[in-house]
Symmetry: C2
Subunit: 186 residues, 2 copies
Amino acid sequence: MAKRPRKRNFPVSKVRRYLEPGPIVLVSSRWRGKTNIMTMGWHTVMEFTPSLFGCIIASGNHSFDLIRHSRQCVINLPTTALTDIVVGIGNTSGADIDKFEEFGLTADDAEEVGAPLIRECHANFECKLHDGRLIDKYNFFIFEVVKAHVAALPKHPQTLHYTGDGVFMVAGKIISRRSRFRPQML
Amino acid sequence: MAKRPRKRNFPVSKVRRYLEPGPIVLVSSRWRGKTNIMTMGWHTVMEFTPSLFGCIIASGNHSFDLIRHSRQCVINLPTTALTDIVVGIGNTSGADIDKFEEFGLTADDAEEVGAPLIRECHANFECKLHDGRLIDKYNFFIFEVVKAHVAALPKHPQTLHYTGDGVFMVAGKIISRRSRFRPQML
């Protein structure tokens, strides 16, 4: 059983702390009573305020229609403790199985969206569709992060960064160069 | 002096290997004889073929006009060997200094674009603007990677992943789960 970290509210304008490093995330969704989870590695922070997040959700994914119709999702941040679950989620389809049940994950209610939070993840970012104009051409969704929940510990969780070919890079070690930054550049 | 890795051509359809993990990159540009370099952490892979890459280049950056007008840039991948140079580049403006000269970097000619390659980086991805429709609203550029150069060694370079607040995560350690992937999901 994966750990279930206690979380606290986190400022949505600061979610780049977790998303800018480029981790694999789990995207949870719900539409008309059906839920799903997918893995995603093609995403970027786009703005601090409003807190914008852009990502590719390929139309072949079972999650695509759930998210396009509900116009909502939750971006969940797994750590290396969930590596095999991340791989399992990425290699199965919600058309065939209930991924929460299959992988022993807990769906908690979100506050601002209908999509569920994955309790076992380090952080959960509730998202509403902000701009869908590039969905048809690029499968590119621009979301606003409307609520953020982050575990207090560990302070520097190890995250998974996908390279393709079944290989992940692990990030976790920290280098600070804070003293060499101009304050407005932090 | 930073190392100068020997590079070979790399398939543009596979640049996700280096970009999907979300590293800080250096963006080099040239317009009317002026060059510049900026740091960038807000980017995402968007497609394999054509090889599309989306990124935010804030309009306040000196590079913004060089890239918007030339419609080209090079995405250069630094490793941890260049940490202090990355920080220096991110905390200075090309309006004030020549960053190649200031930081002892070498501008090599690209093959497909006018912007220079940064020789000391592990990889260089030559980019042409593919779709500029979101530049005005979001400072979001969609580039096509038209040529890729990657150093053969090290096979798994340590890369920098920015979290804000002057702090980088380092990725480099590898976890393979290749045997657990369905072939079409690699």
